[in-house]
């Protein structure tokens, strides 16, 4: 990054630290608020177990905020990182809640009350069910692909289970009421719990309602090479969408915004024109397998823009390197189209990996972009035709090295493609001396 870019980077790091601090405050301040005025402790293990329980429930609450797509909070990290953070933190929170249960079982087994709900206080049974639901939630989320659980079904189940588990956990906390020995402490935790329940209501009701108020229309469905279809969408109210090249949108088709059947897709059109957006979608399975049957005139619901992957966050680069595999070309296409519309003359490199030449999506338009931009287009084919003279096989460090200039310090690299390709490209660029802060990758499968 050029010196001009450093303040931006440090500002982003500062913002990231502030948000992490806010996270820790949200999880631990409601716990530490229980300290003043309490009696002295009942032994370290007992109090540690209780503290873990309170912190675990608070972590569960904040989980809802992490996937609520608050743009300001996700911007310093990138929404894909935040979703991964949500996923890994769920595992950590499960371990913490389980430690709460395990320590009490070891330290004061009688306190846990019988498992049989007929003889146990309701709040203890609520706690047990919440723990069970939480385990199911985490296991299903981590094994969704292995179990071949359809995304929309999983998401519906996830929403119901997580909301139920949290409400039960809150009941358990307020019912067990350890440390909640004064009215204000009870009110504090009741309000704290209600805040997170309100957030669930916001995510499940208020935001879909706002999306529903702004319908979009499918104005074009264009088949492309390689089982890709481009949908052009226009806002019915004609208000343009401001987005940055490389960002993505959540799309709902043939379902209500309240049905939680939305899917994220990179915007492929130029950011210079917000009167419409184009989403280029490959038929891969689940929702995308029906994309070719979408008709002009259908209503669509769009929640956008999101993401921090793109040239506009690194505007000071001396040039850009793009590495795309298959449909990973979509956000790259948006960036190239935008640069062309801006008549940008900086040097550009595009390494575009595909299996078969006939299925290289947008290859004709890329040739046209080569004429409009200072773009070096390097196709890499796994199964090239007999007469092919270009690069072949999988993307390698040698291929990158052959085409990139020796002076690379001012370049910014953007990688979007299948996970193995992304790993290889990141490693290769590192070996070629590119600083990690100049290499940006978009993760495909974070939902």
């Amino acid at each position: 990054m050029t010196p001009k870019g450093e303040p931006r980077k440090s500002a982003t790091s500062r913002q990231a630290l502030v948000w992490l601090g806010l996270y820790l405050a949200a999880v631990t301040l409601p716990l530490f608020a229980l300290l003043p005025g309490s009696e002295s402790g009942y032994g370290f293990t007992w109090d540690f177990a209780m503290a873990l329980g309170y912190a675990g429930v608070a972590m569960l609450g904040v989980q809802f905020a992490l996937t609520a797509r608050f743009k300001r909070a996700t911007a310093p990290f990138g929404i894909d990182i935040v979703y991964y953070f949500h996923r890994y933190l769920a595992v950590c929170a499960l371990v913490i809640v389980f430690a709460h249960y395990g320590l009490l079982r070891w330290n004061v087994p009688g306190m846990l009350a019988p498992v049989d709900p007929r003889f146990a206080p309701a709040h203890m049974t609520a706690g047990r069910i919440a723990l069970g639901a939480f385990i199911v939630l985490v296991v299903l989320s981590l094994t969704r692909r292995a179990l071949r659980l359809e995304y929309d079904n999983w998401r519906g189940m996830h929403a119901v289970l997580s909301s139920t588990a949290f409400a039960l956990a809150l009941w358990h906390v307020l019912g067990a009421a350890h440390y909640l020995d004064t009215a204000w402490k009870q009110v504090l935790w009741a309000v704290f719990g209600m805040f997170w329940l309100s957030l669930i209501a916001y995510v499940r009701v208020v935001r879909p309602w706002r999306i529903a108020r702004r319908p979009w229309r499918v104005t074009e469905v264009r088949p492309e090479r390689g089982r890709v279809h481009t949908l052009r969408l226009e806002p019915v109210d004609r208000r343009p969408l401001q987005f940055a090249a490389g960002q993505f949108a959540w799309l709902t088709l043939r379902a209500s915004p309240f049905a939680m059947r939305e899917h994220p897709f990179s915007i492929a059109s130029s950011a210079e024109c917000g009167m419409f957006i184009e989403l280029s979608i490959k038929e891969l399975g689940d929702f995308t397998s029906t994309i070719g049957s979408v008709k002009v005139g259908e209503t669509a619901w769009v929640d956008a823009p999101y993401g921090t992957f793109g040239i506009d966050l690194r505007p000071d680069a001396s040039g850009y390197v793009f590495i795309a595999g298959g449909i990973g070309i979509a956000p790259v296409l948006s960036m190239l189209r935008t640069l062309a519309d801006r008549q940008d003359r900086r040097p550009l490199w595009l390494f575009y990996g595909n299996r078969i030449w006939e299925r290289v999506a947008f290859r004709e338009e890329l040739d046209e972009l080569v004429r409009r931009l200072d773009l070096r287009l390097i196709h890499v084919l796994q199964e090239p035709p007999a007469e092919w003279a270009g690069e072949q096989g999988l993307l390698t460090q040698e291929i990158l090295s052959r085409h990139l200039p020796t002076e690379r310090s001012g370049l910014e690299c953007f990688i979007c493609g299948p996970t193995p390709m992304t790993y290889i490209a990141e490693l290769a660029l590192g070996n070629l001396g590119m600083r990690a802060s100049h290499v940006h990758s978009e993760i495909f499968d974070w939902v």
């Binding site: 631990t28 716990l31 540690f48 991964y84 206080p121």
Partner: protein, 131 residues
């Protein structure tokens, strides 16, 4: 570092911080052990019997027992002061003597913890009042 790996480390570091803060909470709550104030503090709410009543809940007895409908109804302590004399009450409270052989080992362990509790005499007085 890959973005996914970065998220993993970020989550792990955050979780470790939460656990450390939970431990700090436990340390702070037990820091005043040098000047035991359990009985004194709870006594603010009433007499010695009310201290015992608070101790019954604090020690987790109500997970298995109930008094006046509060707690686990399977083992009601209502009338226990009439049914047992002071020695028997103490043995059943601490899992000692004849009670020890009739209780599951984990319950005996749990009850044994109450032996060192500063509010034990108050608890015994309270149980004796349940007639």
């Amino acid at each position: 570092m890959r973005r996914e790996t970065r998220a993993r480390w970020l989550a792990a570091a955050t979780a470790v911080t939460v656990v450390v803060l939970a431990a700090l909470f436990a340390v702070l709550r037990n820091a005043s052990d040098a000047e035991p104030r359990s009985a004194a503090a709870t006594a603010l709410a009433g007499d010695r019997v009310s201290v015992g009543q608070v101790a019954l809940e604090r020690l987790g007895c109500i997970a298995c027992h109930s008094v006046g409908g509060r707690g686990n109804p399977t083992n009601s302590l209502d009338g226990v002061g009439r049914r047992r004399d002071a020695t028997a009450l103490r043995e059943w409270t601490l899992g000692q003597g004849t009670a020890k052989g009739r209780l599951p080992p984990e319950v005996v362990r749990m009850k044994a913890r109450a032996a060192d509790d500063p509010d034990l005499p108050a608890l015994m007085d309270y149980l004796a009042t349940l007639r």
